[in-house]
């Protein structure tokens, strides 16, 4: 049986909990009659703001919880230890399955309560924004949540796509294969005119797999020399006859294989980069957001 993802964890437990909380918040906001336009300073504004701050602390705790997982896991013990460690947080429940605080459960809660945070914080603002610290905190929060949602998407979606792309191969294996194709092509090209040799040489020297951040993320190379070589070789097929044609076909086949391998390798690099990059925003911005949030709380009560 396929294991349930962080989205479906415990039959959408955290979705149900957070959706319930969000509904309550929306109902309270709609029926609240503060006597002024809604903003963070009404009674409901304070309540929503406090709840949002508590959610933030809960979400940040995930980062600590992740690091608390023992480095040398003994599966049965880990669970017991983890449960023991967080037993004081555990809620009593009637359902059959105990409310465990596995890392997966934490992550599932982290995702859903992250989404809920946006709603709580938005209602807290009363849709009042400006060029100030308070809106900066909001924007940082939205960036953190959006990057987190992107992370959730790639975590749930990309592993299967990566497996489909790589099959049994690994990236080092694929790069070795590409080197092999290069050597074969170099030998095979020697007998052909300079024009073809140059294509093969350029393909060998200038084809880029990985590289700078944007190259990794895009998974493409502009005017890729390998693709150019394949295209040009395809057009040159008519120029050869007899045994040379056979050799040419061999060269063309080699370059075709190389191109396919290059595309797969780049795609793999791209997926890996996408799996990793969001955390370079998510984690640092969450720290900046926490500081902005603390400053926000300090400033509004400093000038109460």
């Amino acid at each position: 049986m396929q294991r349930e993802s962080i989205i479906e964890y415990e039959r959408y437990r955290h979705f149900r909990l957070s959706a319930g909380a969000m509904s309550l918040a929306v109902v309270a906001y709609v029926f609240d009659k503060p006597g002024t336009e809604p903003y963070g300073g009404t009674v409901l504004g304070y309540v929503l703001g406090t709840l949002a701050a508590l959610i933030v602390l809960f979400l940040l705790f995930y980062g600590m919880r992740k690091r608390l997982t023992p480095r040398l896991p003994k599966p049965e013990n880990t669970e017991v230890q983890t449960r023991r460690r967080f037993a004081r947080f555990a809620l009593r429940r009637k359902a059959r399955r105990p409310l465990t605080f596995s890392l997966k459960g934490w992550l599932s809660a982290h995702v859903y309560w992250g989404v809920a945070l946006v709603l709580f914080a938005t209602l807290h603002t009363g849709f009042q924004f400006g060029w100030n610290l308070h809106s900066l905190s909001y924007v940082l929060m939205v960036l953190v949540v959006l990057s987190g949602l992107y992370g959730t998407y790639v975590y749930v979606h990309l592993p299967r796509v990566m497996t489909d792309n790589m099959g049994e191969d690994t990236l080092p294996g694929l790069l070795a294969k590409i080197d092999g194709y290069d050597k074969l092509a170099a030998t095979s090209a020697l007998q052909f005119p300079d024009e073809i040799c140059q294509l093969i040489e350029r393909s060998r020297n200038e084809t880029r797999i990985g590289g700078r951040l944007l190259e990794q993320l895009s998974g493409r190379q502009k005017n890729c020399p390998t693709q150019l070589a394949v295209r040009k070789l395809h057009d040159m097929g008519k120029e050869f006859h007899g045994a040379r044609l056979q050799s040419f076909h061999d060269l063309y086949a080699i370059m075709n294989h190389k191109e396919a391998a290059v595309v797969r390798a780049r795609r793999h690099v791209k997926y890996k980069a996408r799996l990793a990059i969001w955390l370079y925003l998510h984690a640092p911005l969450s720290i900046a957001f926490l500081l902005a949030l603390l400053t926000h709380v300090l400033s509004v009560f400093f000038y109460w």
């Binding site: 903003y39 170099a186 370079y280």
Partner: protein
């Protein structure tokens, strides 16, 4: 003849160079990947016939690139290079080095294929981790910006100890939750005027230091009850935008939504929203001429006004026209009802301006005297005019005719004065009788009664009490409703009696207006669109033009 020693260098498994020498001869020596080249470099990066080694005209030895090919000599592109020891030439994936000529050769060329391992090492980063990006660095710098710009600098400008820190920009603005109200613009950047102590809510004392009077509820007991445990800022939060701070948008219903809880004796019911539970309008009917002479009547059923005026709108607004000295004329509302300067109500209607202007309702002598109408508005004045006119007429007549007759009738009296008095008295009496009894006279519009004992005012015209301000608790602007026709709201076209009241009821207003909550196709209306916050009503009415006379609305 060139004698060239070619040294092929390979690396063994430990990376040590293994030299294999070969000697080639020829007038010229071809270098390329073609099998007939004397120096064969099997790499696709090398042209078929890439370069040739030959003597130049000066007798020196040169390596020249063939047409279409190029040499990378000491990291620079070149077409030809002299074979001097130490020269480093890159040719495809081969490195050629001209070595010191130690034997009987013209030139010694060491050739080494590019190191495959080195090539493999030169691969690009294939993961984000290899890019040496640092989450901590991003966290540090973004946090630093937040802390310095949004915390430390504003704090520097706000703490009492460092107050007055001279900075070119007010970083405190970054803490400002919104624009200050229009009345408080002068306090901007003087936070401590209101926020006297950090971490303490703005105290009423701070507000009262400027706002010494409060237009709230006059009754101090009720005031205390209504505003118990409330700070000024609860109802008047600042930093909510560039608007007056005394906005009442939603504040009225915070008390009036359950008014009995605050004032059980309140004369009106609780109101949440105009379109939901606003009570029927209360009409103000005049009962006398004093400021306070009125009574309030809920606008239910057939309420009549007793103004003392006889007037039929039906007759005057006849669509076929009404008979005037200028012929049949179709009248419109604006012929009589002219808006006041404030655009709220209408200027008072006067007999002279509205009723006699076109020659209708002229008050004349009997028989009429050209260019000499009778005055309207005061019976004693009328008497004076009549007496004066008829006395003069009698004198003129008797003096010129020399008879004792006046107006064709004999007069009595000892002397001319008595005869004139007698004559004038008769004439005045006859004229008055006609004015006050004929259908076309005063009784056409007024209730009159004789009082013969009063010689100066033998007829009493009953006072007109036209209601000036029908909806005393509201301020209705006619000019803001100019897009509607009068008869859309006031059903006067079929009114025969001046007692008919045609102030539209709340249902009529609700055909266009809803409360504060927006409804598509309707006009949202907050409380203060019609009402004014607890202030002295008479003063407000005065301000709104409540003094204007005339049953205009």
């Amino acid at each position: 003849m060139i004698r060239c020693q070619v040294v092929h260098i390979h690396r063994n498994s430990r990376g040590q160079a293994v030299r294999k020498e070969q000697t080639v001869f020829g007038e010229t020596i071809q270098i390329g990947r073609a099998s007939d080249c004397r120096i064969l470099l099997p790499s696709p990066g090398v042209s078929m016939y890439h370069a040739v080694l030959r003597h130049g005209e000066d007798g020196r030895l040169y390596l020249s690139a063939q047409e279409g090919a190029e040499l990378l000599v000491n990291d620079a592109l070149a077409k030809q290079v002299e074979c001097i020891p130490g020269t480093y030439i890159l040719l495809g994936s081969f490195r050629l080095v001209i070595e010191e000529n130690t034997g009987s050769f013209d030139v010694v060329i060491a050739i080494e294929a590019e190191d495959e391992a080195r090539r493999a090492q030169a691969r690009l980063p294939i993961s984000i981790a290899e890019l040496q990006l640092s989450k901590r660095r991003v966290a540090f710098w973004t946090s630093l910006v937040v802390v310095v710009i949004f915390l430390l600098l504003p704090l520097m400008q706000s703490l009492p100890a460092t107050k007055g820190a001279k900075l070119p920009v007010s970083f405190l603005d970054l803490w400002n939750i919104g624009h200050m109200s229009s009345g408080h613009h002068s306090l901007a950047s003087k936070c401590s005027t209101c926020h006297e102590k950090p971490f303490q809510p703005v105290a009423d004392k701070a507000c009262m230091s400027c706002h010494t009077t409060r237009h709230h509820i006059a009754d101090p007991v009720l005031f205390e009850k209504a505003f118990r445990n409330k700070r000024c800022a609860d109802c008047h939060p600042d930093h909510r935008g560039d608007l007056p701070i005394e906005r009442l948008d939603k504040q009225c219903v915070s008390c009036h939504g359950n008014i009995k809880a605050i004032n059980p004796r309140a004369s009106h019911t609780s109101i949440q929203d105009f379109s939901v539970d606003h009570p029927d309008f209360k009409l103000t009917l005049k009962t006398g001429h004093g400021e306070r002479d009125f009574r309030e009547v809920t606008q239910i059923g057939n309420v009549k006004e007793k103004s003392g005026l006889k007037f039929s709108h039906l007759v005057h607004l006849n669509k076929k026209g009404i008979s005037t000295p200028d012929g049949d004329t179709v009248m419109v509302c604006q012929d009589c009802h002219l808006p006041d300067d404030a655009g709220l109500r209408f200027n008072p209607i006067s007999m002279e301006k509205s009723c006699q202007q076109s020659g209708c309702h002229a008050l004349d002598f009997d028989p009429p005297v050209a260019d000499r109408p009778l005055p309207h508005g005061s019976v004693p004045k009328l008497m004076d005019t009549l007496r004066e006119y008829y006395a003069k007429a009698a004198v003129d007549e008797m003096l010129t005719s020399g008879t004792r007759e006046c107006a064709g009738e004999p007069t009595t009296g000892k002397n001319l004065l008595e005869r004139v008095q007698s004559c004038a008295k008769n004439q005045v009496g006859a004229n008055l009788h006609k004015l006050f009894t004929s259908k076309e006279g005063c009784v056409e519009c007024h209730e009159v009664s004789p009082q013969p004992e009063n010689a100066d005012e033998p007829w009493k015209v009953h006072a007109i009490q036209i209601t000036q301000h029908w909806l005393r608790h509201a301020a209705f602007s006619h000019s803001r409703h100019a897009t509607s026709r009068c008869t859309d709201c006031h059903d006067k076209e079929n009114s025969r009696s001046s007692g008919d009241i045609s102030i539209p009821d709340i249902k009529k207003c609700r055909t266009c207006h809803v409360g504060a909550k927006e409804v598509k196709g309707k006009v949202s209306t907050s409380c203060e669109a019609c009402h004014v916050f607890h202030r002295d009503e008479d003063a407000v009415n005065k301000k709104l033009g409540g003094d204007s006379q005339g049953g205009a609305n």
